[in-house]
C-alpha cells in the first residue's frame, strides 16, 4: 500500500502543476481590470498606475505566475487587492464559518443517511421506505438555492423562527450562532443526505441478498447481529466513496448556500472576489480547494482499500 500511495503522490505533481496554471489563468483571461474595479468612482489615471505597480500587475503574465507560485509554495498568497488583507489571513478568518456550516451539514447528511437508509433497507416497501425513496428523489432534484429561499420564506419571514440570513461567530454568542446555522445547514445537507440515503439503502440491499448473508442467517444469528456485523460492514465500502465525494459536493454547495444566507465563509469570499477580480484571493481559494480535493480523493481511495481487502492497490489504475 505504501508504494501505491507514493505512486499516487508522484502522479499528483504534474496534476498540481496544471491545477496551479489553471487557477492562475482562469481570472486573467476574464475581462475586467482589478485596479479599475478597485478604484470604483475614483479613477485618477496616475493612481491607477501606482496601484498596478504595487500589485505587480504591470509585469508580464509568465513573470507574475512565477512570482505567485514560488510564494504560494511557502504559503504566502500575497495581499487582497480589494482589502489589502493578507490572503492567507482572509481565508483562515472565514474558514471557521465554512467549516462549521459544512461540518454540520456533512454530519447531518451522513447520520440521517445511515440511519434512515439502514431502516428503509431492512423494512423494504414499508411506509418509511417509500417516504425515504420519495425524499431521495426530491432531495437530489431540488436546487439548493431554491430550497434555501423556501426555508427563508417559511421560517425566516412568514413565521419568524430563524433569522433569514447573517452570522454570529461561535465565540461571541453560541445560541445566536446556532440560530443562524439551522436554515443554511439544512439547505446544504439535503442533497447529499438524499444521495447518502440512497447509497446506504441500495448497497445494504445488495449485501443482504448475498449468499453469505443467507448462510449467516441460516446459522441462526439474530437479525440485528447479522446486520451489524456482516451487512453494514460490507455495505459501507461503496458508501465510503460516496461520503468522500460528498465532502466535495458540500464544499461546492456551500458556495451557493453561503450566498443565499449571507454566510461569511470561504465560498462567499470566492464569489465576491471573482466579481471584484481580486486575483490573489481567487487564485488562492481555487488552488487550495483543488489541492484539498485531490488529497480527499486519495484518502478515500486508501480507506476503500483498508475496508475492502479484496482490492489490490497495485492493479488499480489511478
Amino acid at each position: 500500500m505504501g508504494t501505491y500511495i507514493i505512486r499516487r503522490l508522484v502522479l499528483m505533481v504534474p496534476v498540481a502543476f496544471l491545477v496551479s496554471v489553471i487557477a492562475f489563468a482562469l481570472l486573467r483571461l476574464t475581462p475586467g481590470d482589478p485596479v479599475i474595479v478597485y478604484a470604483g468612482e475614483e479613477r485618477d489615471p496616475a493612481t491607477l498606475d501606482a496601484l498596478r505597480q504595487e500589485f505587480g500587475l504591470d509585469q508580464p503574465l509568465p513573470a507574475q505566475y512565477v512570482t505567485w507560485v514560488t510564494r504560494a509554495i511557502r504559503f504566502d498568497f500575497g495581499r487582497s487587492i480589494r482589502t489589502r488583507q493578507p490572503v492567507a489571513e482572509a481565508i483562515l478568518e472565514r474558514f471557521p464559518a465554512t467549516l462549521e456550516l459544512g461540518g454540520i451539514a456533512l454530519v447531518l447528511s451522513i447520520a440521517v443517511g445511515l440511519l434512515i437508509g439502514t431502516l428503509s433497507a431492512l423494512r423494504r416497501n414499508s411506509p418509511l421506505d417509500l417516504a425515504a425513496s420519495g425524499f431521495t428523489l426530491a432531495g437530489v432534484s431540488l436546487p439548493n438555492f431554491f430550497l434555501g429561499l423556501v426555508l427563508i420564506l417559511v421560517f425566516g419571514l412568514a413565521v419568524r423562527v430563524f433569522p433569514p440570513g447573517g452570522y454570529t461567530a461561535l465565540k461571541d454568542d453560541v445560541a445566536d450562532n446556532l440560530r443562524h446555522l439551522v436554515l443554511p445547514a439544512v439547505t446544504l445537507a439535503t442533497a447529499s443526505m438524499a444521495v447518502n440515503l440512497r447509497q446506504v439503502r441500495s448497497s445494504l440491499l445488495d449485501v443482504l441478498g448475498q449468499e453469505y448473508m443467507r448462510t449467516a442467517r441460516a446459522k441462526g444469528l439474530r437479525e440485528a447481529v447479522v446486520v451489524a456485523r456482516h451487512a453494514l460492514k460490507n455495505a459501507l465500502i461503496p458508501v465510503v466513496t460516496i461520503f468522500g465525494l460528498q465532502v466535495g459536493a458540500i464544499l461546492e454547495g456551500a458556495v451557493i448556500t453561503e450566498q443565499v444566507f449571507s454566510w461569511p465563509g470561504v465560498g462567499k469570499l470566492a464569489v465576491d472576489s471573482i466579481a471584484g477580480r481580486d486575483y490573489p484571493v481567487v487564485q488562492a481559494i481555487v488552488l487550495l480547494s483543488a489541492l484539498s480535493f485531490m488529497f480527499t480523493t486519495l484518502v478515500v481511495d486508501v480507506l476503500y482499500g483498508v475496508l475492502d481487502p479484496r482490492i489490490s492497490f497495485g492493479r488499480r489504475s489511478a
Binding site: V15, L26, T30, P143, E252, V255, S289, A318
Partner: protein, 276 residues
C-alpha cells in the same frame, strides 16, 4: 410495448414526465396565456388569481407564461451542454483507453486537473471568462462534465480491450478505428445513455445556479434560475409566487431526468438491476 411497459413502469413514468416537458417547451407559444416578455407595469406584482394563475412579476409579466417558456432554454441548455460533454469526453476516453501510452498518461492528468476543481467554481470562472450569456453557460457546463465521460469511457474501453471479440477482430486485421466503432463503442452505449440522462438533470441544475448568480441567460429571456433570482428580493414582502413557479419547474425537470436515468440504469445495466 405493453410487455416493456409492464416490466419497466418507471421508464414509462419518467419518459412521460420528460415528454411532457419537451412538449411544453415546443408548444410554449401555443399554451402559454401571455407573451412572457411583455411588460405591463399597470398589473405589476399581482398575486395568483384567475387572470394570472401564478401571478405577475414587478414588470407585470405573467409568471406562468415565463415558467412555460423557461422550459425551452433550460432543456436546450441541458441537451447541448451534455452533448458537448459527451462528444468531447467520449472521444477523449476512447482515444486514451485504446491508444494508451503517453497520450493516455497526459490526457488523464489533464482530466484529473479538471476534476480537481470544484465544478461550480470552474463553471463560474469559465462563464465569467467567456461573458455571461446562455451559450457560454452551456459551454462551461459541458466542459465541467467532460471528465465524467472520459473516465467512464476509458474504463469501459480498458475492460473491453482484452475481451475475446476484440482480440479476435484485431487478429483478422480490423483497423483500430473499426474496432472502436464496431466493437467497443456499441458495448459502452448503455452506461453512457444512463449517465447522459442523469447529466441532463445536473446541467439543468447547474444552469439554474449560474443564472441565479447572474451569469446565465440575457434578459428579458425567461429562464428558471434567472427568474428565481429576479423574484427573490420580493420574498421579504411575502410576494412568493415569482420564485416559486420557476423553482417548482426546475424541481420537476430535474426530478424527471433523475427518475428516468435511475430507471434506465436499472433496466440497461444488468449488474445493477439485481441489486435495487
Amino acid at each position: 410495448m405493453s410487455e416493456f411497459a409492464r416490466r419497466n413502469p418507471r421508464i414509462i413514468i419518467g419518459g412521460a414526465l420528460v415528454a411532457m416537458l419537451v412538449l411544453a417547451a415546443i408548444f410554449a407559444p401555443l399554451i402559454s396565456p401571455y407573451d412572457p416578455t411583455a411588460a405591463d407595469p399597470a398589473v405589476s406584482l399581482e398575486g395568483p388569481g384567475p387572470q394570472h394563475w401564478l401571478g405577475t412579476d414587478d414588470l407585470g409579466r405573467d409568471v406562468l407564461s415565463r415558467t412555460i417558456w423557461g422550459a425551452r432554454i433550460s432543456l436546450s441548455v441541458g441537451l447541448i451542454a451534455v452533448g458537448i460533454g459527451l462528444v468531447v469526453g467520449v472521444s477523449l476516453g476512447l482515444l486514451a483507453g485504446y491508444a494508451g501510452g503517453l497520450f493516455d498518461l497526459v490526457a488523464m492528468r489533464g482530466i484529473d486537473a479538471l476534476l480537481a476543481f470544484p465544478a461550480l467554481i470552474l463553471a463560474i470562472a469559465i462563464t465569467s471568462a467567456l461573458g455571461p450569456r446562455i451559450e457560454n453557460a452551456m459551454i462551461a457546463i459541458g466542459v465541467v462534465a467532460i471528465p465524467l465521460y472520459t473516465r467512464l469511457t476509458r474504463g469501459q474501453v480498458l475492460s473491453m480491450r482484452e475481451r475475446e471479440f476484440v482480440t479476435a477482430a484485431r487478429t483478422v486485421g480490423a483497423t483500430p478505428f473499426r474496432i472502436v466503432a464496431r466493437h467497443i463503442f456499441p458495448n459502452i452505449t448503455n452506461p453512457l445513455v444512463v449517465q447522459a440522462t442523469l447529466s441532463i438533470a445536473f446541467a439543468i441544475l447547474a444552469e439554474a445556479s449560474l443564472s441565479f448568480l447572474g451569469l446565465g441567460s440575457q434578459p428579458p429571456a425567461p429562464t428558471w434560475g434567472f427568474d428565481i433570482n429576479y423574484g427573490q428580493r420580493y420574498l421579504s414582502n411575502l410576494k412568493w409566487w415569482m420564485s416559486v413557479g420557476p423553482g417548482l419547474a426546475i424541481f420537476v425537470a430535474v426530478f424527471a431526468f433523475n427518475f428516468l436515468g435511475d430507471a434506465l440504469r436499472d433496466a440497461l445495466d444488468p449488474r445493477l438491476r439485481r441489486s435495487v
